[in-house]
């Protein structure tokens, strides 16, 4: 019991004194996962909308692939991103393995299918005739797509939540492609794994508390927006 109590006390001490190392790790986590989420939103909303509206042979297969992709195991992503970025891998020339950029890449790969899948579902959930109604209002194709995405903005917030929530707490890929280098590519999850392994439970608990707070805060804000605009 002492272990947990001391750990928690130490954790709050580290948080409230804004411990330099803990602060650095937290900011890097936010930066990396935030960037990866933005990238995944850009790709995922475009692809999801396109697949939702287009009719082409093999569409069913594409939809199945996207849905499968929503559950990609992070370690598998980590493995393949590592292989691609390896010195003599296809993207080896970029020389970004074991950098925060590599983590962003891996996390974007994890989050993109999630955002794509949720976008696809949200757009398909709009009334079937809405597309025709917008066209009948005189819209160009581009205006039509824009208005549809705008109309699906609330469910799309779920995509943001799911995407960010999925990668801020992800550890497998981050440790594989980032290398958990102190002060450079160490993020909340990889640091927690390491500190726990070393028996530094106090630091590990501090990091976990921050991680949970972050996840909670982001979701609370998004939920707030979503619920406020919800009809009746």
């Amino acid at each position: 019991m002492d272990l947990i109590l001391e750990g928690i006390l130490k954790a709050f001490y580290l948080i409230f004194t804004l411990d330099k190392e803990v602060l650095g790790i937290t900011l890097l986590s936010l930066k990396v996962s935030g960037t990866a989420t933005l990238i995944s939103l850009f790709i995922g909303i475009s692809v999801g909308t396109a697949v939702a509206l287009a009719r082409f042979p093999g569409r069913q297969l594409v939809v199945s692939l996207i849905n499968t992709g929503m559950g990609l195991p992070p370690v598998v992503v980590g493995l393949f991103v590592t292989i691609f970025l390896w010195r003599n891998g296809p993207l080896g020339f970029l020389e970004i393995l074991y950098t925060p950029t590599a983590i962003i890449l891996a996390q974007a790969v994890i989050a993109t299918p999630i955002v794509t899948g949720i976008t696809l579902a949200s757009i398909q959930h709009l009334p079937a005739n809405l597309r025709l109604q917008i066209l009948a209002l005189g819209a160009t194709r581009v205006q039509m797509v824009w208005l549809l995405v705008k109309e699906a903005r609330l469910p799309l917030l779920a995509a943001v939540m799911a995407g960010f929530g999925g990668i801020i707490s992800e550890v497998g890929a981050s440790i594989m492609v980032g290398g958990n280098i102190r002060g450079y590519s160490r993020v909340l999850t990889t640091a927690t794994v390491m500190e726990t392994g070393r028996g530094n439970f106090d630091v590990a608990i501090a990091l976990s508390v921050i991680l949970m707070l972050l996840a909670f805060l982001v979701n609370a804000i998004l939920t707030q927006i979503q619920q406020r605009e919800r009809p009746r």
């Binding site: 005739n129 809405l130 109604q133 009948a136 209002l137 005189g138 109309e151």
Partner: protein, 370 residues
């Protein structure tokens, strides 16, 4: 109708064919939508009303056929055409925005400036009775308010033709009645050409100048309302709409709730709240019409008594459908026994009568042509 008064053809469809999953769902060799008129498409579910509307609106590409708007073929994708039309669906399909922003949507899409939107939108909000809801979220509207917003959104762009796909069928009767009245007024005031689908005969009678009865993806009959109602071309049309005699008329005088309406070839007495000079449709069900071979009977409560000549007798199973020419056509149902007792046959003179209370009156702002 004389050729000089014939309105011009605004939209012309030729050889339209729409297939879905290898099945032909629409087959229209020719269809004219006349300028300034309301054409009602009436028919059972699955008759192809919605498909025809979407095709006419340029929103559904037919497998074959062409559309001519003001004599010009509608071009690739129909973008220019879509900016000249408007469509209202059964569901209001409003955006998740305020009522004002919803009504402004079509104008914004056309890149019209804020100042003009600020001028035009309130006018149409008022016209459709949703001015007080301008700032309300479209998600917090009742069914009637939402459909009013949808109609305002369609009319604010001043479309040259409006397509209405069963716009009132999800509303409760009082709401529907009020909304049809408002729409009727706006259509007549602005002389907007419209094509509206409905499966409600009364709705069609109130709004339409011309009626097209659809069945199985085809137009079974098209013509002026009274013509289609009174002279159904085939059994299907007769079973779907031809249950009444419909006489377009104008109110001559009103006294004590009973009014006299001039119809083509005669005058009819009926009961209803109407004003002198107003256009009305007088609908008389065939089972309410009594035939006799005597001179006009004395001491009857029937206020409408006409002498006429039997034009056609059509057996309809248990009874016969008798069309009597009394200056206008009047249809009566007669049992086989009566037919035999009265020795009714085509060409014979008879007296037809019905009570003023048997006339179902539909008020019309203007006298429909035809």
């Amino acid at each position: 109708m004389t050729p000089e008064t014939m309105p011009e053809v605004l939209l012309k469809a030729e050889n339209l064919l729409v297939r879905r999953g290898g099945v032909t769902v629409l087959d229209i060799p020719a269809l004219d939508v006349l300028s300034g008129q309301v054409l009602a498409l009436i028919g059972p579910n699955g008759a192809g009303k919605s498909t025809l509307l979407l095709t006419l609106a340029g929103l559904l590409k037919p497998a074959r056929g062409s559309l001519l708007f003001r004599g010009e073929k509608i071009g690739n994708g129909g973008f220019d055409y879509r900016r000249r039309i408007a469509m209202v669906f059964q569901e209001p399909l409003l955006f998740d925005a305020t009522v004002f922003d919803n009504v402004a949507a079509g104008l914004k899409i056309r890149g019209i400036g804020r100042a003009e939107i600020g001028r035009t939108v309130p006018e149409y909000l008022e016209r459709f009775g949703v001015g007080h809801l301008a700032k309300r979220s479209a998600r917090k509207l009742s069914g009637g308010e939402a459909q009013r917003t949808s109609l305002a959104r369609a009319f604010v762009t001043k479309p040259e033709i409006v397509f209405l796909d069963e716009p009132f069928s999800s509303l409760d009767p009082p709401t529907r009645d009020a909304l049809i009245g408002d729409l009727e007024q706006i259509l007549r005031e602005t002389h907007t050409t419209a094509v509206a689908s409905t499966h409600d005969q009364m709705e069609a009678l109130r709004l339409a100048d011309r009626l097209a009865v659809m069945n199985g993806g085809k137009i079974a009959q098209i013509g002026p309302v009274a013509e289609v109602m009174n002279r159904p071309a085939d059994k299907f049309v007769a079973s779907f709409v031809g249950v009444e005699t419909v006489l377009p008329g104008r109110v001559l005088s009103v006294s004590d709730g009973v009014f006299v309406a001039a119809v083509e070839g005669g005058e009819i007495q009926a009961v209803g709240h109407v004003r002198t000079g107003e256009g009305v449709l007088c609908c008389i069900r065939p089972e309410h019409v009594t035939l006799s071979t005597n001179a006009p009977p004395l001491g009857t409560s029937a206020r409408n008594v006409f002498s006429g000549i039997i034009r056609t007798i059509t057996p309809l199973g248990l009874f016969h459908r008798v069309r009597v020419d009394c200056g206008f056509d009047l249809v009566a149902y007669v049992t086989r026994q009566s037919l035999e007792e009265l020795l009714l046959q085509e060409g014979k003179s008879v007296t037809a009568s019905f009570k003023a209370t048997a006339v179902h009156v539909i008020r019309r702002g203007a006298l429909p042509p035809g």
